[in-house]
C-alpha cells in the first residue's frame, strides 16, 4: 500500500526520508586498469581517504541507516535461514548434553578437557579483535578503525557469548554452575580464589560486561539517529506499513498492524536514552570513551593471559610454559582479526555501499596485522619447541617432539601440521603487496587462520593430555557426533547473532566516521598557523 503522491515521494527523496533509500553507488568501483579503489596509495606524504565517493554527512547517514531500515537483500535471508537452523541444532545439542550428561562427549579419564575447552579458548580468542580495535587503536589514534570498530565489537560480544556456553555446560551438573561465583550459600562453601580457573571466571565475565558497555556506549548516538529518522517519517506520513516478504513479486501489505517506524521510534528511542547531540554531553562522552579505551587495553591483554594461566599454572608437560600469556594474546588478536575479515569481506559484497566506508586500504591494514601477529605466533611456536629441547626436561621434550611434531610417532601430527601451515605459512603471503590487496586472497587466508587457530587450541589441550607421564594411562581422544554438532551449532549461534546485528543495528559508527571526514575539521587560517 505504497500510495505516495508523486510530489510527496520526490520531497521525501530530497530530504533523505524515503525509508531504506540508499544514495547512488559510486560510479567507478575501482580505478580503471587497476585493482585499486583509490585508497592504496604508497606515498607516505599523502593520506589515503577514509571514506570514498565524496560522500557528505547525510549520505553516510543514509548508507548506514538505509540498510538498517530497508528489507535485507535475498542472500541475507538465505544465509540467515541456514545459520539460524544450525543455531537451533546447537541449542538442541546443548539440551541433549544437559539432559543426558557429559558422557555424550568423547571425553575419557585421561583426556578430560577436549573440544569443550578448545571451543571456549577459540571463541574467547576471536573476541579479542573487537576490543583491540576499539581500545588500543583508539589510544594510538588510528582513524581507520572507525570503519570496523562497531562490527568488530559486535563480533566480540557474540564470540564471548559462544565462549561462555562451553565452560558453563562442561561442568556436568549445569544447575550447579552458579557455584563458579562467590555466592553466599547454605553450605558455607566459598570458591578457591587461588585457582586460575576462578580467575578465568572473573576475567571472562568482566570482559563480556566491559565489551558490552563499550559497544552500547558507542552506539547511543547512532541509535538516536535511527530514532530521529523514524520519528520524522512518522510525522511526515511517509512510513510504510508492514509487508510479508514474498520470494517472487511484490510483498503482501498488512494494513492493520502498526507501522515498523512506530516500533523503531520505541525501541531505538528507549535505547538512545534521550541523546540530543549536545556538545556538553559530547565532551563527557569523549572523556568516558577515552577512559574506557584506557582500561580496556590492559583488560584485553589480561583476559587471554588469564585464560593461558588455566594451562600454564598446571604442571602438565606442554602446558607448563612461561611463554603462554604473550603467545595466547598474540594468537587471540591474530584469530580475532581473521574473523573480522572473514565476516566483513562478504558484508561488503552483499551490502555494496558499505565498500565506500570499508575500503581496500582498511582490508590491507588488517591483512598487515594478520601478518605481524601470525609471525609472532610462529615465533612463539618455535620458541616453545626450542625451550622444550634446551630446557632439558625430558617430559616436555617428549610432549613436543613425539606427541605433536613427529609424523612417525605422534598420533596427532596432522593437527600440529595443520596448525603450522594455516597459522604460520598462509599469512606469509601478505608480504606480497598484490596478494594483501586482493579481498578474495585475504578472505581465503582469514579462513585458513581461523581453522589454524582452532587447531592450535586443540593441539595444546588434547595432545598434552592424551599422553601424560605413564604409558599405562595413555588414551586417544576422538570426538563424538555430539562434540562435532555442538561446535558447529556454536558457529551457527555466532553467525545468527551477527546477521541480526547487520539487520537491526548501525553497522558503522556513523558519528565516528563523520568525525574523521575532511568536512568535520574546522578550517581556519589562525588555527592552522598554531600547529
Amino acid at each position: 500500500m505504497t500510495t505516495f503522491e508523486p510530489d510527496q515521494s520526490i520531497a521525501a527523496r530530497l530530504t533523505g526520508l524515503e525509508p531504506g533509500a540508499q544514495p547512488a553507488p559510486r560510479r567507478q568501483k575501482l580505478i580503471p586498469g587497476t585493482r585499486d579503489d583509490g585508497t592504496l596509495t604508497e606515498d607516505p606524504g599523502q593520506r589515503a581517504p577514509l571514506v570514498l565517493g565524496d560522500r557528505s554527512f547525510g549520505e553516510i547517514t543514509d548508507i548506514v541507516c538505509g540498510y538498517a531500515e530497508a528489507p535485507m537483500p535475498k542472500p541475507w535471508l538465505a544465509l540467515f535461514s541456514i545459520f539460524s537452523m544450525v543455531a537451533a541444532l546447537g541449542t538442541g545439542m546443548i539440551l541433549y548434553l544437559i539432559i543426558t550428561g557429559v558422557g555424550v562427549w568423547g571425553l575419557n579419564n585421561q583426556v578430560d578437557w577436549a573440544w569443550d575447552i578448545t571451543n571456549f579458548v577459540f571463541w574467547i580468542g576471536i573476541g579479542h579483535a573487537g576490543t583491540l580495535i576499539s581500545a588500543i587503536l583508539c589510544l594510538l589514534k588510528q582513524n581507520w578503525r572507525t570503519a570496523v570498530n562497531r562490527s568488530a565489537e559486535a563480533m566480540t560480544i557474540f564470540a564471548v557469548t559462544c565462549a561462555g556456553i562451553f565452560p558453563g555446560i562442561h561442568v556436568g551438573r549445569v544447575w550447579f554452575a552458579w557455584m563458579l561465583f562467590p555466592v553466599p550459600n547454605s553450605q558455607a562453601i566459598w570458591p578457591n580464589f587461588r585457582s586460575p580457573l576462578l580467575w578465568d571466571v572473573f576475567a571472562v565475565s568482566t570482559y563480556a560486561t566491559v565489551s558490552a558497555l563499550f559497544w552500547y556506549m558507542g552506539m547511543i548516538p547512532d541509535l538516536a539517529t535511527l530514532r530521529d529518522r523514524a520519528y520524522l517519517r512518522l510525522q511526515k506520513g511517509l512510513s510504510r506499513p508492514f509487508g510479508i516478504p514474498m520470494p517472487v513479486g511484490k510483498d503482501i501489505v498488512v494494513p492493520f498492524l502498526p507501522r515498523p517506524d512506530t516500533f523503531r521510534v520505541l525501541a531505538y528511542g528507549l535505547l538512545a536514552l534521550g541523546w540530543r547531540f549536545s556538545s556538553r554531553h559530547w565532551h563527557r562522552y569523549e572523556k568516558a570513551y577515552l577512559i574506557l579505551a584506557g582500561i580496556s587495553t590492559p583488560l584485553v591483554l589480561s583476559v587471554h593471559s588469564i585464560v593461558s594461566f588455566d594451562f600454564a599454572v598446571s604442571i602438565l608437560p606442554g602446558w607448563h610454559t612461561t611463554i603462554f600469556p604473550p603467545y595466547f594474546v598474540a594468537g587471540a588478536v591474530f584469530g580475532g582479526f581473521a574473523m573480522v575479515l572473514l565476516l566483513l569481506i562478504p558484508v561488503r559484497a552483499i551490502l555494496p555501499n558499505f565498500s565506500d566506508l570499508l575500503t581496500l586500504r582498511h582490508l590491507e591494514n588488517m591483512a598487515k596485522i594478520l601478518l605481524v601477529t601470525g609471525t609472532m605466533v610462529g615465533f612463539a611456536y618455535a620458541m616453545e619447541f626450542f625451550i622444550a629441547w634446551y630446557g632439558g626436561n625430558r617430559f616436555e621434550y617428549e610432549a613436543f617432539a613425539n606427541n605433536r611434531v613427529n609424523p612417525m610417532i605422534a598420533p596427532y601430527w596432522w593437527a600440529y601440521w595443520t596448525m603450522i601451515i594455516c597459522n604460520v605459512v598462509f599469512p606469509q603471503m601478505f608480504w606480497v603487496r598484490r596478494l594483501r590487496q586482493n579481498p578474495i586472497v585475504i578472505w581465503i587466508v582469514a579462513l585458513a587462520v581461523t581453522i589454524g587457530m582452532w587447531f592450535e587450541r586443540f593441539v595444546i589441550i588434547v595432545t598434552s593430555l592424551h599422553r601424560a607421564f605413564l604409558p599405562g594411562e595413555w588414551h586417544m581422544f576422538w570426538p563424538t557426533w555430539v562434540d562435532i554438532l555442538t561446535f558447529v551449532g556454536s558457529i551457527g549461534i555466532f553467525l545468527t547473532l551477527f546477521m541480526l546485528f547487520l539487520k537491526f543495528l548501525p553497522v558503522f559508527a556513523m558519528a565516528e566516521v563523520k568525525l574523521v571526514m575532511p568536512q568535520a575539521h574546522v578550517h581556519d587560517h589562525d588555527h592552522d598557523e598554531e600547529h
Partner: protein, 208 residues
C-alpha cells in the same frame, strides 16, 4: 548551597514533575514558556566560530548540538573539564578494595583451604581478580557516570518539539541559548546569530 542546587537541578532532569519551576521570564506569542532561541548552521567551521562568538558575548546557559563531537569545541565553548576521571578513579579504588576484601575474608577466615601449602591470606593469587574488578567497576562508573552527569536518560526535552532539530543527528549543527540565561535578550541573540551566519533562527517553546 551549590551542592543542594546541583541536586535540585539533577532532580529536575529526572523528575520534572517533582520540582516547582520559577515563573517564566519570557512568554511566546502563544502564551507558553520560552525555552530558548536556536540557530542552524550547515558547516563545522561556521558553527565553531559562532560558538566562539556566543562564548565571548558572555552567555552561560547555552549549547551546541552537532552530529559528531567537533574537535576543539570545548575550547570554543569554554566548557570546564569534566569530573568524570575522578569518578573513574574512585570506582577503580572501590573495585580493587572490594576484590581484596572479598578474597581475603573468604580465603583466610570464612572458608580456609590448604592449597599447595601457601599461607591463607597471601595476597599474590588475589591480584588477577583485584585487577579485573577494578576494571569492571571503572567501566560501570564511566558509562553511568557519563549519563548521570549529562542528565540522561530523559524522556523529553523542549528541543525535541522543534522539527528541524531532528536533522542534527544527520548533518546539521545548531546553537541553542536558553531563556534561563541572565543575559537572554531575543533581539540581541537574533542579531548575534545572524552575524555568525546562522539560519532558521527560531524561538523554542517549552511544554508548560
Amino acid at each position: 548551597m551549590s551542592a543542594l542546587s546541583n541536586i535540585t537541578a539533577a532532580a529536575a532532569d529526572y523528575f520534572p514533575m517533582l520540582v516547582r519551576r520559577p515563573p517564566p521570564r519570557f512568554i511566546s506569542e502563544s502564551g507558553k514558556r520560552v525555552y530558548g532561541i536556536v540557530a542552524e548552521f550547515s558547516e563545522t567551521t561556521k558553527v565553531y566560530h559562532a560558538a566562539e562568538m556566543v562564548r565571548d558575548a558572555g552567555y552561560k546557559k547555552w549549547d551546541v548540538h552537532s552530529p559528531f563531537p567537533v574537535h576543539g569545541m570545548e575550547h570554543a565553548m569554554g566548557v570546564k573539564p569534566t569530573k568524570l576521571p575522578l569518578l573513574a578513579v574512585g570506582a577503580a579504588v572501590g573495585g580493587l578494595s572490594f576484590a581484596a576484601f572479598l578474597q581475603w575474608i573468604t580465603s583466610a577466615y570464612l572458608y580456609p583451604m590448604v592449597v599447595q601449602g601457601k599461607p591463607y591470606g597471601a595476597w599474590e593469587p588475589f591480584m588477577p581478580i583485584m585487577f579485573e574488578l577494578s576494571v569492571l567497576f571503572t567501566a560501570f562508573a564511566c558509562l553511568f557516570g557519563m549519563l548521570a552527569l549529562n542528565g540522561l536518560p530523559r524522556f523529553h526535552h523542549p528541543l525535541f518539539g522543534h522539527e528541524r532539530f531532528y536533522r542534527i543527528s544527520n548533518d546539521r549543527f545548531m546553537i541553542a541559548i536558553e531563556a534561563e540565561d541572565p543575559n537572554f535578550d531575543p533581539d540581541q541573540i537574533r542579531a548575534l546569530f545572524e552575524k555568525a551566519g546562522g539560519t532558521d533562527i527560531t524561538i523554542i517553546e517549552d511544554e508548560d
